[in-house]
Each structure stands twice: as structure tokens, then as C-alpha cells.
């Protein structure tokens, strides 16, 4: 990515967002939207170009669509003046983000995202909105104080300096990446290693391979460990068949565990402590939410003692009495 162009695109996006934050009406709003989308498109095109890929790829097209949708929805989140709409647009952001996750091969996280965010968190937001919603006043569909953004210029400036900075890193990802083959080999080695911890899966896969190879799939026993090939794309495992012959079973990449299996394995094997901590955090958040949401009384300590039928401490009065004496 060429930095000046990148900054120019960021600046165009910034101007568009700024104009939208000013709550324009009619044609101006349309123009601002077009301007912002144009800046966004330019930014995305630059990103795709920078990756060095050529030709049309449906995955890239889908990803681009998801990204555009997420961005547009995010902008609507912050430009709409009605919190309910903002929450709904945020659901759209989450969905678009889930699409991007899917395209990038994180199926489990995509669905988790939808379930946790769109399903749980956003519902909480809705409840709170209902609890705390103020009646719209006469001026329009929203509450007066949030009809116009505050200090949009400073906000947009901050946001887009950050965007430009982050985007310049994005442009250099390719420069700093390791050779794809090496990365792949290492990743596959890790995947095969994970598979070693799943003997039942290995047994299932070998049985399937033996059946596919026309051997007797029943009554075999392992004759050695899983040997990963040099490039990591295949792994070999010697087995003794039921007839006593020895066979080198070859497992292919497709035989590796699926995303959710691997992820669960990784989570419990590599990050058990973090997992426990996450549980504690959630528990504490629950307790905190309960404490915070409790209805507060306006009574002071002494009044409450009195209400409970206890004697007053009268600390303050005693001090005053001492002063008077």
C-alpha cells in the first residue's frame, strides 16, 4: 500500500463520516454517504491490491461485501440518533463480522459471535434500553440531547489518525510475513500433533483410509506412531492388519480435525488457566451487575439504623455539641 494514497482514502472516509455525524438532510446526506463509501471502496481496493493477488476470487468478493456491510452498519450505529436503531444496526455489524469469520475459516467463532453478541449481549442492551429509555420529546423521534453529535471534528480527527496508523501496518503485513510454505508446514505439524492427542479420531480416520484403500478395516492394531511428512500435508502411520501384514496408512489434510474440535482442544490444552480466569470474570461480572442494579436507598447510615430500630450513633451531632460546649 502506498501511504499517501492510504492517508488520502482515510481522509475521504473521515470527511464523509464527519458530514454524516453533523446530521445533514436530503441531498447532503446522500452526498456524504457516497463520499464515505467511495473512500471506503478505495481503501478496500488498495488493500486487495496490496496483497498482490490477481484474478477474481469469490471468497474475496464475499469478504469485501461483508466488510462493506459491517462498516456501513457501524457508521449507522454511530450516526443514528435513536439508541434502539443503533442496537439493531450493531446486530448487523455482528452478522457481517460473522460472515467475515466464516470466510476466513473460523466457523466456530462465527456462530459463537452471533449467539453471544446478537443473541445475549444485544438482548441485554434492549432490556436496558427499555428500562432506561427516555420518552422522545417534541422535536423528533429521539431525545434532544443526542440529536447532534458533540465535538465531531475532534472525534473524527482522533479516530482517523488511528485508522491511518493501523492501516499502514495492514499494508506491511505482506512484507513481514514468513514464506507461506513454512507457515503451512508449521501449522500442519501443530495440527497433526493435536491429532495425536485424539486417538479415537486417529482410529476412525485410519479405519476410513483402510476401507478406502480396499484393506480390511477391522481388527488392525497400531504398529508405530504418527509420522508427519516433510511438508506436513500428509502423515503416515504403520498398522498391523488383522491378517498380520503391515501397512503404511497415509492420512491426508482432510483427515485433520475440524475447526471446532481443534479449537476446543487448543483451548483446554494450551489455555486452561485463561479459561478458568474467564469463568471467574464472568462470575464477578454477574455479581457486580447484581450489586449495581440493586435499588439504592437515599437514607444515610444513621437513618437506616433508626429505621431498623437501632440507636443512632449521632457522630456528627456529638461533634457539633462538643464545639458548642
Amino acid at each position: 500500500m502506498i501511504p499517501p494514497l492510504l492517508y488520502a482514502a482515510s481522509a475521504i472516509c473521515a470527511v464523509g463520516l464527519f458530514l454524516l455525524l453533523r446530521q445533514p438532510t436530503g441531498k447532503a446526506r446522500l452526498g456524504a454517504t457516497i463520499l464515505g463509501l467511495a473512500g471506503l471502496a478505495w481503501l478496500l481496493v488498495q488493500g486487495v491490491q496490496a496483497s498482490g493477488a490477481v484474478g477474481f476470487d469469490p471468497q474475496v468478493a464475499l469478504m469485501s461485501l461483508a466488510v462493506a456491510m459491517a462498516t456501513a452498519a457501524a457508521v449507522r450505529v454511530i450516526t443514528t440518533t435513536r439508541p434502539v436503531f443503533a442496537a439493531l444496526y450493531f446486530v448487523l455489524v455482528v452478522v457481517a463480522g460473522a460472515v467475515a469469520y466464516l470466510v476466513m475459516g473460523a466457523e466456530f467463532m462465527a456462530f459463537s459471535l452471533i449467539i453471544v453478541y446478537a443473541g445475549a449481549i444485544l438482548i441485554t442492551y434492549m432490556f436496558v434500553l427499555m428500562l432506561a429509555q427516555q420518552a422522545p420529546d417534541a422535536g423528533g423521534p429521539s431525545v434532544a440531547y443526542d440529536r447532534v453529535a458533540r465535538e465531531p471534528a475532534a472525534a473524527v480527527l482522533c479516530g482517523f489518525v488511528l485508522l491511518a496508523a493501523l492501516a499502514s501496518v495492514v499494508g506491511d503485513v505482506r512484507v513481514n510475513q514468513q514464506p507461506a510454505a513454512m507457515t503451512e508446514a508449521r501449522a500442519n505439524a501443530a495440527a497433526w500433533n493435536r491429532m495425536r492427542g485424539m486417538p479415537e479420531l486417529v482410529q476412525e480416520r485410519i479405519t476410513a483410509e483402510l476401507a478406502a484403500a480396499g484393506k480390511d478395516p477391522m481388527g488392525w492394531s497400531p504398529a508405530g506412531g504418527l509420522e508427519v511428512a516433510q511438508d506436513g500435508r500428509t502423515a503416515m502411520m504403520p498398522v498391523t492388519l488383522a491378517d498380520g501384514t503391515r501397512h503404511e496408512t497415509v492420512l491426508k489434510a482432510a483427515d485433520l480435525p475440524v475447526n471446532s474440535t481443534s479449537l476446543g482442544w487448543e483451548l483446554v490444552t494450551s489455555y486452561p488457566g485463561s479459561l478458568e480466569l474467564a469463568g471467574v470474570i464472568l462470575l464477578m461480572a454477574m455479581l457486580g451487575a447484581v450489586v449495581l442494579a440493586r435499588r439504592q436507598t437515599d437514607m444515610a447510615e444513621d437513618d437506616r439504623r433508626a429505621a431498623a430500630g437501632l440507636s443512632r450513633t449521632n457522630v456528627e451531632d456529638a461533634d457539633l455539641a462538643g464545639d458548642r460546649a
Binding site: G47, A74, V75, A149, G159, V170, N259, L263
Partner: protein, 112 residues
């Protein structure tokens, strides 16, 4: 800061787009947090920033073909959920105090 050497192997356009989208979401989240007055919208904006962070995790995980990125998204979700619970509890509390959701109703940090 130089044009990328064409000799380099091509990168993954999905990673690029994912990272760009994460940066954009994060920036938009900041802009929203700074410019909206409604506290609920402000917290939605922090969720936007969480979204950006998660997307960046997934993208980098794909680039390095490592599952840690996705694992971290799980933790991000956890923290986001906890934050949402607490923050919304606080919002309800603050709303009870002043009968408004405007962040500008709270100016105790001002010197005078």
C-alpha cells in the same frame, strides 16, 4: 513505506480485508464513543471496538494459521459480555440518579 517488492509471494487478500475492516471498526467505534451523548450508544461503540479487535485476531490467526487467534476471540467475547453486564448495570444506576442517559449530565470532573 516502500512499494511492496513484486518478488514477494502474494499475500492473502482475505487477511488484508479483515485487518482493514478491523481498523475501520475500531476507528468508527472510537469516533462514536467520542461523539455520542447517549451512554447506551457509547457502550455500543465500545462493543464496536471489541468487534474490530476480534476481527483483527481472526485475521492474524489466519495469516499465521494458528488457532490462538480464535482462542483469544473467545476471551474477547467473555470480557465483552462481562463488560456489557457491568456497564449496563452502571448505566441503569446512573439513569436512576439523574433520570437521563446523557453523559453530559455528569460533570463532576470539571474543576469548578
Amino acid at each position: 513505506m516502500n512499494p511492496i517488492d513484486p518478488q514477494l509471494p502474494p499475500g492473502d487478500p482475505l487477511v488484508m480485508l479483515g485487518l482493514l475492516a478491523s481498523a475501520i471498526l475500531f476507528a468508527v467505534g472510537i469516533v462514536g464513543f467520542l461523539s455520542r451523548r447517549n451512554m447506551i450508544t457509547m457502550f455500543l461503540c465500545t462493543e464496536l471496538m471489541f468487534q474490530g479487535a476480534g476481527l483483527a485476531m481472526i485475521s492474524y490467526g489466519r495469516q499465521h494459521m494458528d488457532l490462538s487467534g480464535q482462542v483469544f476471540v473467545i476471551f474477547i467475547l467473555t470480557v465483552a459480555a462481562a463488560e456489557a453486564a457491568l456497564a449496563l448495570g452502571l448505566v441503569v444506576l446512573l439513569y436512576r440518579r439523574k433520570e437521563t442517559l446523557s453523559a453530559e449530565a455528569w460533570k463532576e470532573l470539571a474543576e469548578s
